[in-house]
């Protein structure tokens, strides 16, 4: 899908835009717990651009994977996910590192996210009589509960950005205010939501989603139209820089392999 907004380099896709925007949020000398797909690509781009000491962790039990360009894993538990890794341990152990506080970032996608950052990957409809039974939490609930800062990356569509999720698979700020801490989730905070239209965060008092910056060529009205709830808007909306040629080349080489990028 070609990225929306007219300020993009030619041919940039929504996926590329999201992954590159998200990659810029990851600081050097940190540890990121990434899922497969966009979170993993974003982390790998960051390592190759500005954060060479970023350690990528995957829930299959992998610490410090480097990835083989063009052979990206489909699952976090397969051999391709471990290419060049420094350590392989078991799954439970990996999550316990998160609980201990070693993982600076947890990186998630979302089928459905609401104004308080709660994520649903379990059911459309009710849990008793689901209209659609989705795969389930996997490690998402643990990542959002245990990592130090959580980043969410997803396409900006009204069906994904809903006022309230049908089912809280992975708790964000629950009903806002201090409800997350009240529920016993005393560790971790939601840092940012990255989309193909914008960069958002959560207003500190209400814990409601707030627009911080726009992707190139995207308007505030466009973001509002694509959000299924009333969005808070920062007083000083910034503009995100477009992907650089270097970032795009690195992303495409990772995805397609060295031959495809040549």
């Amino acid at each position: 899908m070609t990225a929306r907004g007219d300020g993009q380099p030619d041919g940039v896709t929504a996926e590329e835009l999201m992954a590159i925007t998200a990659s810029r949020l990851l600081a050097d000398h940190t540890v990121v717990f990434a899922g497969v797909g966009m979170p993993l690509l974003a982390s790998a781009v960051a390592r190759r651009c500005h954060a060479p000491h970023l350690t990528i962790v995957l829930e299959g039990g992998i610490i410090g994977t480097t990835l083989l360009p063009g052979k990206l894993p489909i699952s976090t538990n397969e051999m391709r996910a471990a290419y060049g890794a420094q350590m392989l341990t078991d799954i439970t152990d990996i999550f316990l590192y998160a609980q201990r506080g070693y993982f600076d970032y947890g990186f998630l996608g979302a089928a459905q996210v609401d104004m308080h950052g709660n994520i649903n990957t379990s059911v459309i409809g009710s849990i008793e009589r689901p209209r659609v039974r989705l795969p389930g939490s996997g490690g998402a609930n643990d990542i959002i509960s245990l990592c130090n800062e959580v980043l969410i990356v997803t396409q900006h569509e009204p069906r994904r950005f809903v006022p309230q999720v049908d089912f809280v698979t992975s708790p964000g700020y629950l009903s806002g205010g201090d409800s997350r801490a009240q529920a016993g989730l005393v560790r971790g905070r939601l840092g940012a939501v990255v989309t193909d239209l914008a960069l958002l965060d959560f207003e500190p008092a209400s814990r409601r989603m707030r627009l911080r910056a726009l992707q190139p060529g995207v308007t505030l009205d466009q973001v509002r139209e694509q959000t299924g709830f009333d969005l808070l808007v920062s007083t000083d909306i910034e503009n995100l820089g477009p992907p650089s040629a270097e970032e795009l080349a690195i992303y495409r080489k990772l995805r397609d392999g060295p031959a495809a990028a040549a």
Binding site: I74, D90, F95, R129, S137
Partner: protein, 317 residues
Amino acid sequence: MEHVAVLAARAEREAAGRPVADKRMTAEAAMALIRDGDHVAIGGTLYSRTPMMLVFALLRQRRRHLTVSRPLACYEIELFLATGALDRIVTSWVGIGLPWGLAPIFRHYVERGEASYDEWSHLAMGLRYKAGAMGVPFLPSLTMLGSDLARTLDLQTVTCPYTGERLAALPALNPDVALIHAHRADMFGNVQVDGYRHMDADIAKAARTVIVSAERIVGPEDIAASPAQTMLPHFAVDAVVAAPYGAYPHECYGLYGPDLEHFDAYVGAVREHGPAAGLRYVEENVDAHPDFAGFVAAAGAARLAALEAAASELMLR
């Protein structure tokens, strides 16, 4: 949700013998250890080191009213559903992977209420097996709190007697039977794996009966040559099954990659024909062959060689 009687589980383990004996048997013979209504835990994760030879042997039996638990469940869950063997799934995720979309047979049964799905978080599954493996009734954790998962499962919390902090109390999971696939085992059941360990050691130690399949049966001297690779000691294993390509069409770390084309064909058939395609898959890939070796041979030497090459390419040596 049933809760383990931890003292009963411990008493049963105490009373069981620990003979250092030749535990080798065929997959078919090992299936006699599984009864209708059992909770069977399947080792590996998603499509990595799944004990497919043992799974196929169990599918052939057409057992009824099974509960199956796994760290992440792949399409083997759909095969148990489609053959009428499965009442209840206990896991954190069901599918094959993003490219194949939602699992249609799984959806069919769960959305109609014909099978139940107890959805826990991934760490919760790990800690539930670990509690079972440790011989304690629960483990505390900071995960799952505040979620609808916790509400649906009626997950209880505990207050720390030292600090007053509130934690989730994840109940022990002690399966009736564990199915585990490994790289090597000796005849006594000393089991070694390479690469990922998934949740296999805890699943096995939590279970009441443990069946291990292994790519190679080796001598005790081979086990002793690399004892740090040993994942399970002989006294935690009840049956050992020789299983070359025993995880195929899933992957086995360092030996062969996953057969993604096989997954494509399966998902294509299910999309076209619905749940009936699951039963047909079992008839054609399980029932039609005299044993698992027949199913593997049907893949063809060229495809197996390609999967071995794919695995080899990923090993830095």
